[in-house]
Symmetry: C2
Subunit: 490 residues, 2 copies
Amino acid sequence: MKTVQSTNARTGEPLGAPLVAHTPEQVDKAAEAAALAFAGWQASAGGQRAQLLRGLADALEADREELVTLADLETALGPVRLNGELDRTAFQLRRFADMAERGVAFERTDDPAVAGGPPVGHPAMVRQRVPLGPVAMFSASNFPFAFSVLGGDTASALAAGCPVVVKAHTGHLLLSIRVFGLIQKVLASLNLPAGLIGLVQGGGSDVGVRLMQHESIAAGAFTGSTRGGAALQAVANARPRPIPFYGELGSINPVIALPALLASKGADLAATLAGSISLGCGQFCTSPGVIVLIKDPASNAFVQQLTTALAAQKPHAMLTPGMRQAFDAGVEHMVTAGVKPLLQEVGNAEAPRPFLAQVDAVHFIAKTALREEVFGPASLIVWADSVAQTLEVLQAVGGSLTVTLWGADTETDDARALVRGAMAIAGRVLFTGVPTGVAVSAGQQHGGPWPSSTQPMTTSVGDAAIDRFLRPVCLQDAPAWVLARQGRPC
Amino acid sequence: MKTVQSTNARTGEPLGAPLVAHTPEQVDKAAEAAALAFAGWQASAGGQRAQLLRGLADALEADREELVTLADLETALGPVRLNGELDRTAFQLRRFADMAERGVAFERTDDPAVAGGPPVGHPAMVRQRVPLGPVAMFSASNFPFAFSVLGGDTASALAAGCPVVVKAHTGHLLLSIRVFGLIQKVLASLNLPAGLIGLVQGGGSDVGVRLMQHESIAAGAFTGSTRGGAALQAVANARPRPIPFYGELGSINPVIALPALLASKGADLAATLAGSISLGCGQFCTSPGVIVLIKDPASNAFVQQLTTALAAQKPHAMLTPGMRQAFDAGVEHMVTAGVKPLLQEVGNAEAPRPFLAQVDAVHFIAKTALREEVFGPASLIVWADSVAQTLEVLQAVGGSLTVTLWGADTETDDARALVRGAMAIAGRVLFTGVPTGVAVSAGQQHGGPWPSSTQPMTTSVGDAAIDRFLRPVCLQDAPAWVLARQGRPC
């Protein structure tokens, strides 16, 4: 019998007794229950979907204190952050509830018949969307609420009309199970099938891979490492019937700070950036891992300011002992690859110290190892000779959730080139502020070219996240009773 | 020196002298030229894109007679069909020109700042789209104009702001080169770089795979067999940086004909269906390969009518000798897999005879071999006991470009279940008529779950085809000069 164990993130000690890992047969059962629930849920009205999503938001808030306490034990993220994250998760559930109620999933394109032969003439067509089917959802380690059991993937999939089977993250296993208990109560109170939202637990291929391979699963949604996401995408592609796999993976989020702005605001920006690098112990997919500076006295001064500001930061314990070790290994890896440390201090067994280093652009471009995300409070200054070389650095990065561009307020040839270069590799380009903090909103795009995501046309945060779980269907010469459903499935 | 040879489709004889196949270095050069052209084309205005697309449409029409004659020699599709296909191709180029001029590629979502902290408050965001970059376009054998050098993939990619490198199909190589000559003249007359539309020729991994692997290529677009598409998708995924691959692959396009309708209109429907099965010698991705009938005297009568109507059809020569041989092999494969032939006659070396067979639903569901597309005028009647078993047949098919549903005019439980079952597996559901003939229109959806396409959320025909080559980017707190561009790239 395989087991799975929760851990106190601050002490590394086991939290509670070992729990039984699910067997492949139990994973299959969860997928089959989701498939059964799909028959009804795909045909549900927007109001019913909204009712469920709001019920789930209410349930989270009602048990806030207990949930945050448990989450803090398992993740060490602290009550302020965790309360904020719970707020965001409830907000997101209600936002997708509103979208479901407005009928976003049922929007359609009416394309009336045009008389005559082709190519101008054509039959009557209506383009609407159908939910894909049960979604396998892989929770992230670093957002125990917002990218976990009731996070954005689950909320958007349910709003689209898809059941969800959640693979619980072992880093907050007890919280996942506790939230799953709340879900079951809400489903029962609304007379909805228990299989509409399932949860599986355990490590290795028995659980996650098995789930991804199940023939009833119609899509995968994942937030985590590039390695883990690539492995699951390969599983999705190797199925007898490949399915869409939405992976939000690693990202190094370059910050480009131009000398003119640093000359006037360097101290403020250094403080802001130091806070962003160490926020949540650097455990954000939008954590700024690369700072591109153009050689200039103002840039030199900024580096000193940043080093000082970063040295004053006190990162908390990391999410898991494994991540704590991986951070040290990642830093070591960077040093081996030739970066020169500016700030390197020994942390303790749980919490690391911020790491800052520098390297020349030519070396950065040559060493692919330096473009790998180091999860934790580490950042690398890359020195460029010019705007042209800055663009080469961006091209070498190739894909990132965000690029931040400080100092492009005025239109110049350089500014245009930098904006274009940033847009070419990122899902979000910021002109002020820092990339950490991802708004749940209509304009959000949280996904970019590889390796930041597997499907760069999609987002895992914001209103467009629902599009991942809907597929267009054209109804040609449909009878009146089908059209009268106004985009709602039969 | 490798060569590539065009063939007279009717005689199987070589057409013209062997041509030199491109070397890997020449393929790289085409990709690099496209990357250079991208710098300017991504920033082009909609009017400039429209001008190019209309110029290409005009050029096709101006040389219509010569192009159709050459296409007919290489494909045996006949002048009527080929003139119609050229019309459609020009229509499609102009339709994307209109979309480019209207600014479809530059549409954006404005999401103004909301005051206050998260989750409600957020910075100003604008969600717009950027072109992906150079597209590797793999021509189809069966549409020498509409899914080839200047087909829908090329038109929609150019409208999106992406250069294209076309892999010429060997089945109409001389036509491809002739059209490419027209393109170069149009590009030169508009002072556009020659690399904006490239063409490579040759077989094997030196050309197609090499193109897909080139680091400057940002997306692949393919129309062809499931095997060929799956191989290229694997190449796209195995790149150091995987890229989107849009494959429109094999499809068996089930037609469900309910007994009540067959009782009243069986003879007409049999004639219509026989025409669709043998149209273009069955060489359409929407050719109806499976006919699902429910056991009933009206269905029996329909089978007799269909057999008679199909026996009267005279399919023309197939596109290539290889396809002619593959058709016989496919029919043999079906017979080996246990179907009972109803119409099986020996064709000649170029043109096959229509093939019709029948099989029980239970056997069809059990034999995956029977769900493989047989390219050519072959169709299989699947006998179901009930509507419930008809749904099982659809589930076994799993993914198809189309499902046609005859006899669902009135809302009943059975009709609802069948519409739902059809929508679950198809990109387009037809309630009258036949699936062959794919309108270029706003409501079109030409793409469905695997194996009919690799990305079921996308379409390769119709207005939404442009979406494949655009990726969303969120601009956060963008300065006034960036916003003043109204969604146009810098």
